[in-house]
Subunit: 404 residues, 2 copies
């Protein structure tokens, strides 16, 4: 069950970026599970990857190949090719070679991505058989199909399309994403693929992506589990008529802001589709000493099973939020400075329940499907926002009953 | 539901330590909710408290009074007196004054402890009325009653009794504890009270307790939520005939080991009674570079909702354990060095599923009620053990349905 309306938007085509899907039957035969994204030769490409020390084989290959001016992304769902040792590396490389052979390119210009079951060998033969279908299907209008092909246990395809104007020329930014944290037993990976027709060099594109990811995908959490396969790619075909975007320019700022908005929306879709989610919570930490402190407090609240189950029960249990703030590990915090609001209702001030707070007011807010928790620390000016969802019976069900 | 057999043991009386309980009707009238523990004048006392920055009023008072040679502990269940601001401080001090008046002592020699609902005023009048009953009941044989009086949502009273011999004289160590993490909505606090008739000065006793707590109560976790009221007290009446225990002596080592064993057993009871627990997991991290690293990896596994739900489902989902090790934040970990065993079954070696592993073997272990997860990091010689329990429907139920 997803929180709120999550319709797939109308996606504009991006000149120089084409997408093709196929059903390789990796784990199921009902929907496409293979996606190829092709970039024109002059495109630049940026990517960020999971910080899990044990990243999956395709992540290692994609990281290495990112330096070779990538031309193709090869994504499969249904198998993460993670925890697969040396064989996993060979398999990831094999799929790149297979794709390169068909398109007549270099295998090191292919970035592979896998999402799905951990610890099982990637069925490279199935992928090889399905590759020609995906490649023949390459087209700039396949964003919807692409978003569906990368889904694992997602309940809806996730896409964002945005147009900005630079010097009188339109620039389109499209993004698709899948899968919150590690949704389902053995299922891993958040993936996001974003493309634009802007002209921008790879270094600047990488800077732009890193900044956007920090404020979007790195500000969401379902259960605190970082997958072995997380990746986010930003491709720029350079086929817009707008002039090349230069560092430190007003145009760069406009572009970077738009990329961040796309990333934030894709990240929000992921939380809205969090496993068993019934509520979306925005944890806004204000008046922090610095950004790191604000993130620490926000994530401590967002990861607290006690806070998450209280929200599932629509219980305005401010003691749990206050206790989470207190155990976040921030030095010399002063309880009397802390204020906590649920949407427009102040629940905690000066170290205890706010004098004007009523249970009825708290309950009125908690009955909502989307709730902003604002925590003022009274220590400085830093503000950060973390998105998360509640913890329901269905979370346990989804994560416990995989084999039954 | 508790994991395993959890019978309350036969507790030996401790000369110089007496306990009395009463029903103050703080939150219910079914069982005693007030406990007074009295120490003889020559006793020494040590205590450690929650590291939550927002500790409750009684914790602040107990910390301050610890320096005044405490003679009495005053413990109530049903109300945590946490998040209660300035009034909470006054209330905690008031209960100390009320007790001191009855026994003719100093209020600053009373250590107050509260456990229960957060954010509600402590009913000091009810406590005052019940205090004479508890004080009249003071006796060295009331350990069972004391263990029951401090229970909140615990499903069984928790006690340990141990005798050691120093220089031919018996020394008894008794301990009682309650409540895992923050068990129930609004319910806070792990409390443990340990007493011995050993003769040992307060500084050495404090050192002994700090060491024992680090290896016991600081090595357990139910949901990662540190309460605002956690406390552990060690009292030594000095009435044993054994000579005073000196620093750095063989006798100290024997005594400290025994105290640690008592703490470990009390901590284990708490996990066995974790909310909704159906399984006890011992996470043993070996071959770590240092102790901090071993604890970090162990707690990351123990806090992972994905690992915990997999154990609830008896699912040998090694990918989740491996992913948790990978995201623990240990620098330059080498996947190929990591080995993971479930009891006697090796599931992961050299970065992937062990070649000899079978699903049947994994399932055989996972069906057990108590499971040891051994993670070898291949980086050094440090070993640490973390105790935790699984994550069940009942965890969500207990924590979500408090108000319904």
């Amino acid at each position: 069950m997803a929180v709120g309306q999550c319709d797939f938007p109308q996606m504009q085509p991006i000149p120089g970026i084409s997408l093709g899907t196929a059903c390789a039957g990796i784990k199921q035969h009902i929907k496409d599970d293979l996606l190829v994204i092709a970039m024109d030769a002059q495109a630049s490409c940026a990517a960020v990857f999971t910080q899990n020390a044990f990243c999956a084989a395709p992540v290692l290959v994609a990281k290495a190949n990112l330096t070779h001016a990538p031309r193709w992304l090869l994504i499969n769902s249904g198998n993460a090719n993670a925890g697969t040792g040396a064989q996993g590396m060979q398999d990831a490389l094999k799929t790149c070679t297979d794709l390169a052979e068909i398109v007549g390119g270099n295998a090191n210009q292919v970035l592979p991505f896998s999402t799905g079951v951990i610890g099982q060998s990637l069925p490279v033969d199935k992928i090889k058989v399905a590759l020609p279908t995906a490649i023949n299907a390459l087209s700039s209008v396949n964003w919807d199909k692409a978003a569906r092909a990368i889904m694992t246990t997602d309940t809806f395809p996730k896409g964002v399309s945005k147009i900005i104007w630079l010097d009188g020329h339109a620039i389109t930014i499209n993004g698709i994403s899948k899968g919150a944290g590690m949704i389902q037993p053995n299922m891993a990976t958040m993936l996001a693929f974003i493309a634009t027709d802007a002209k921008i060099n790879a270094n600047l594109l990488q800077k732009c992506l890193a900044g956007a990811v920090e404020q979007s995908f790195n500000r969401i959490t379902v259960d605190g589990d970082t997958s072995t396969n997380d990746a986010c790619v930003l491709m720029a075909s350079g086929m817009s008529e707008a002039p090349e975007i230069q560092a430190d320019s007003a145009q760069y700022q406009l572009f970077a802001d738009a990329v961040m908005q796309v990333c934030k929306q894709l990240a929000e879709w992921i939380i809205r589709d969090g496993e068993g989610a019934t509520k979306l919570m925005r944890i806004v930490v204000t008046e922090a000493f610095n950004s790191a402190e604000a993130v620490l407090v926000g994530k401590t609240i967002a990861h607290s099973p006690l806070v998450k189950t209280a929200f599932f029960a629509s219980d305005p249990n401010w003691g749990r939020i206050l206790a989470a703030v207190g155990r976040a590990g921030v030095e010399s915090m002063i309880l009397e400075e802390v204020q906590i609001d649920l949407d427009e209702v102040c629940i905690v001030s000066k170290g205890g329940r706010d004098s004007a707070y009523t249970e009825a007011a708290g309950q009125r807010v908690m009955n909502r499907e989307e709730i902003t928790v604002t925590v003022k620390l009274g220590r400085g000016n830093a503000v950060e926002e973390i998105l998360t969802c509640d913890f329901s019976y269905d979370y346990v069900k989804i994560n416990a009953e995989y084999r039954t």
